[in-house]
C-alpha cells in the first residue's frame, strides 16, 4: 500500500508493525513526531506496548536496557543534545549486547543552540559499538526498522541498531511510502527470543565488572561481534529485498565506471547530490556518486571495490573534527583507501546545521575538486562559509 507519510510517522508505523514491547523516549526536536504518534497508537490500543515517558534521554535508554535485559523488544529515539546526555548509556547498551533499536533524528550539537540537521551527533557515537546505518528517505527509514530489529536480534549478532535519519529533511518531509502487509512483517521478523534474559527461573548476573586482565578481551570480542554483524545484515537486506522488491547495499554507486569526480555522501544529502549528478551528466560532465549507507561496521572492502579507478573523490562531510584533519567521513574513507591506487580525496564540509546545499553547489564543488586535490591529508574545505 502506497501512502503519503511524514518521515517520522513512517517510523512510528513501522515500530507499530514490529509489535514493539517497550518504548521509552524524552521529547526533543526534531525527534518528537515519532514518539507523539507512538503515544497515540498506544493510547488508541493500536499498539500493545508500554510507553514510558521518561524524565531524560539518559533514562530513556536505561529503561530500554532494563526491558531488553528481560527479553522485551524495545525502541527509543532522540536527537543531538539528547544523544549527548544519553551517551554514557549508548556505549553500555552495545557492550551489554542488547538488541535495542534507536532512530537518531540527526541534529547539530550545542553551542550555539541549533535544532537543525547535521551529523555532529552521529559522529559523537561513532565508536559506541552499535550497528549504524544512514537512510536517505522515509521509505528507507520505514524499512530499516524491520531490518534493524531482525539484524539486532539475530542470535549471531545481539547488538543494538541505530538508524541515522536526517532531522527535518527526513523526519518532517511528507513522502510517498510503500507500507508492507502485516503478514510480510510477521514472516520477516519473528517474535523476540533472546538467549540471555533476566528471569527468576534461571538467574544470571548481567553487567559484572572486570579487572584489567579481562577488559581488553571483552573489547576485542565486541569489535569482532560488530564486524561479524556484516553478514547477517546483508542477509537481512537480501531477505527484505526478496519480500518487498526494495534492495539495499552497504554502498551504492552510480556512474562510477567512467567518472572523473565522484561524490561520496551519507544520508539525505545524497538525494540532491544525485539529482545534481544526473544534471551534470546530461551536460557531459563525467561525475558520479557513491552513497554510503552502512557506517558501522564500516564496509572497507565494498568501498575499495566501488572506488577502484576513480580519479577524484569529493566527500560530503556534515560534521567537523575540530583541530583534526577535516570531517569524520573523509577520515574514515582515507583510511579505507590507504595504500591502494585510489582516488585523490577532497573533503567538503557542508550543510552544517541544516544549511541548504543546492545542485549548483555540487557543480561548483565538482569543478573545485581537481584544483584542490593533490594536497596531503589536511585537504579539506569549509564550503560556502561566510568569511
Amino acid at each position: 500500500m502506497r501512502v503519503a507519510l511524514e518521515g517520522s510517522h513512517a517510523v512510528s508505523e513501522a515500530v507499530r508493525q514490529a509489535n514493539v514491547d517497550v518504548i521509552a523516549a524524552y521529547p526533543i526536536t526534531p525527534q518528537t513526531h515519532i514518539v507523539e504518534r507512538l503515544a497515540e497508537m498506544v493510547a488508541e490500543g493500536e499498539l500493545d506496548a508500554e510507553f514510558i515517558p521518561v524524565e531524560s534521554e539518559h533514562s530513556a535508554l536505561s529503561v530500554c536496557i532494563g526491558a531488553s535485559a528481560v527479553g522485551a523488544r524495545t525502541f527509543t529515539c532522540t536527537s543531538g543534545p539528547g544523544l549527548a546526555l544519553m551517551a554514557e548509556i549508548v556505549f553500555i547498551a552495545s557492550s551489554m549486547r542488547l538488541p535495542i533499536l534507536m532512530v537518531l533524528a540527526n541534529r547539530s550539537l550545542s553551542a550555539p543552540l541549533s535544532i537543525w540537521n547535521d551529523h555532529s551527533d552521529a559522529m559523537m557515537v561513532r565508536d559506541s559499538g552499535w550497528i549504524q546505518v544512514f537512510v536517505n528517505s522515509a521509505q528507507e527509514a520505514y524499512d530499516h526498522v524491520f531490518i534493524g530489529f531482525r539484524t539486532a536480534e539475530d542470535k549471531r549478532v545481539l547488538l543494538p541498531f541505530m538508524i541515522h535519519m536526517d532531522g527535518f529533511f527526513l523526519t518532517h518531509a511528507v513522502e510517498p511510502v510503500e507500507l508492507v502487509e502485516q503478514s510480510v512483517v510477521d514472516k520477516y521478523l519473528p517474535p523476540p527470543d533472546f538467549p540471555y534474559r533476566l528471569d527468576p527461573a534461571s538467574p544470571l548476573t548481567m553487567g559484572a565488572f572486570v579487572m584489567p586482565d579481562q577488559y581488553a578481551e571483552v573489547k576485542k570480542a565486541q569489535d569482532e561481534a560488530l564486524k561479524a554483524s556484516y553478514g547477517p545484515l546483508l542477509e537481512a537486506w537480501k531477505a527484505w529485498g526478496e519480500l518487498t522488491g526494495r534492495h539495499y547495499l552497504p554502498i551504492e554507486g552510480f556512474y562510477l565506471e567512467d567518472a572523473e569526480v565522484v561524490f561520496l555522501t551519507v544520508g539525505s544529502y545524497g538525494e540532491v547530490a544525485h539529482m545534481a549528478v544526473e544534471e551534470l551528466r546530461q551536460k557531459g560532465m563525467p561525475v558520479g556518486i557513491a552513497k554510503l549507507r552502512l557506517w558501522r561496521p564500516f564496509p572497507f572492502e565494498d568501498l575499495r571495490k566501488a572506488l577502484k579507478g576513480v580519479k577524484y573523490l569529493a566527500v560530503i562531510d556534515r560534521a567537523v573534527c575540530p583541530g583534526g584533519v577535516g570531517g569524520p567521513v573523509a577520515l574514515e574513507v582515507r583510511s579505507a583507501l590507504y595504500g591502494m591506487e585510489g582516488p585523490k580525496v577532497v573533503d567538503f564540509i557542508v550543510g552544517i546545521a541544516g544549511r541548504d546545499v543546492t545542485p549548483e553547489d555540487y557543480l561548483k564543488m565538482a569543478e573545485m575538486t581537481p584544483e584542490v586535490a593533490g594536497g596531503g591529508s589536511e585537504n579539506y574545505v569549509f564550503y560556502g562559509v561566510k568569511e
Binding site: 514491547d21 530500554c64 523476540p192
Partner: protein, 314 residues
C-alpha cells in the same frame, strides 16, 4: 483503611534461603552487606535486582564470580531507577503478550546514598512519579565509600569525609542530611519507610511490604559503615541501633501518605552517645554537638507532628 499486606517477619518465620551469598568482598562489619542479605531473604527468589555502581556492586559482581542468586543487572551509577522501570515495563508487556508467565516478580532497584540522593535522584523521581510497580532500596552509608569516603548530600552535619575535612575554618560537613524519604513521600507513592539492619525483622518486614504493595515503594536503609564512619567493625550493629534510639535516624513508615512511627523506645537517648562511637565526629566541639542535638530534636518533633496529623490507622 488497610492498604498494605500485614506481613511481619520474626524469629519464627525467618526464611532459611539466602540469595545474597558469601564470597563477596565487603569490609569487616559492613552494615550494607548485612542489609542487602536481609532484604533478599525478605524478597525471595522471584525477584529481579537492578543495582547502581557502588560498594554493593563492586563487592558482589567481579567477573567471573557473583554473590547473587537472583537475576541481577548493573548498568551505571545514576540510572538504577530507570533500569528497574524498564525491567518492570518489559515484564508487563511480555506477560500480556504471553511471552512471560503470569506471576508476581518483585522488581527491585538498589543504590547507595550517592546513587539515590545525588546522581540518581532525577531517575528515581521519574520512576516514582510514573508509578511503576517497583521497590527502590537506598542503602545509605552516608558518603561515597566505594571511591574513598567523599561527602554526599546524605552525609550528616559535622561528619568528616575526604571532601568535607575538618579544618581551621570548617567543622567537616556543613550541610544537614538531605531528607530523601520525605522527597519520596512528596511523590504521593503508596509506601515509604526507613529501616536499619540493626533492627533486622523490622527491615525485612518493610522491604517485603514495599515489594508487595502495588506501585512504587521506597525504603531508606541506614547502613553503618565502620570503614567510613571510623568505628570498630564489631560496633556496626550497635552504632546503627544508637542512630535509631537517639532519633538521628528515626524508623517510620508512610503508607498512602499516613505516618506510623516504629521506634523501639519512646524516650530518645542523647545524640552524643551515637556521635562518640565514631571517629568521623571526633573533632566536634561541645557547641556543635549541642547544635546537632537541637536540630535532631527539632526534626523528631516535626515527624511526631506529621504522625499525629496524618496517622496510619490499622
Amino acid at each position: 483503611m488497610k492498604t498494605i499486606g500485614e506481613v511481619r517477619f520474626t524469629r519464627k518465620n525467618l526464611p532459611k534461603e539466602e540469595f545474597f551469598v558469601s564470597g563477596h568482598t565487603a569490609c569487616q562489619g559492613c552494615g550494607e552487606a548485612l542489609a542487602v542479605r536481609l532484604a533478599l531473604k525478605a524478597l525471595g527468589k522471584d525477584t529481579i535486582v537492578a543495582c547502581a555502581t557502588g560498594c554493593i556492586e563492586i563487592i558482589s559482581s567481579r567477573f567471573p564470580e557473583t554473590a547473587w542468586l537472583v537475576p541481577w543487572i548493573h548498568v551505571a551509577f545514576e540510572n538504577t531507577a530507570a533500569v528497574i522501570s524498564g525491567v518492570e515495563a518489559g515484564l508487563k508487556a511480555m506477560t500480556r503478550k504471553g511471552r512471560f508467565p503470569q506471576k508476581r516478580v518483585f522488581c527491585v532497584g538498589m543504590a547507595g546514598d550517592g546513587g539515590t540522593a545525588d546522581i540518581g535522584l532525577q531517575a528515581l523521581s521519574g520512576a516514582l512519579e510514573r508509578g511503576h510497580d517497583i521497590l527502590f532500596l537506598c542503602f545509605d552509608n552516608e558518603a561515597y565509600m566505594n571511591t574513598g569516603i567523599q561527602r554526599s548530600s546524605a552525609t550528616p552535619f559535622g561528619a568528616v569525609t575526604t571532601t568535607s575535612p575538618a579544618g581551621k575554618r570548617s567543622p567537616g560537613q556543613v550541610t544537614w542530611k538531605k531528607n530523601v524519604p520525605e522527597i519520596a513521600v512528596a511523590h504521593g507513592i503508596p509506601y515509604v519507610a526507613t529501616a536499619c539492619p540493626s533492627f533486622p525483622y523490622d527491615l525485612m518486614t518493610k522491604v517485603r511490604r514495599g515489594a508487595e504493595v502495588k506501585g512504587p515503594a521506597y525504603v531508606h536503609i541506614l547502613s553503618p559503615c565502620p570503614t567510613g564512619w571510623r568505628c570498630a567493625p564489631h560496633l556496626a550493629v550497635e552504632v546503627g541501633r544508637l542512630a535509631v534510639e537517639t532519633g538521628v535516624f528515626p524508623l517510620y513508615e508512610v503508607i498512602e501518605g499516613r505516618y506510623r512511627i516504629n521506634m523501639p523506645k519512646k524516650e530518645l537517648k542523647p545524640v552524643e552517645e551515637y556521635l562518640n562511637l565514631q571517629g568521623r565526629f571526633r573533632h566536634l566541639s561541645p557547641e556543635i554537638k549541642g547544635y546537632i542535638q537541637k536540630r535532631v530534636t527539632e526534626e523528631w518533633e516535626k515527624l511526631l507532628q506529621k504522625a499525629k496529623a496524618f496517622p496510619y490507622e490499622e
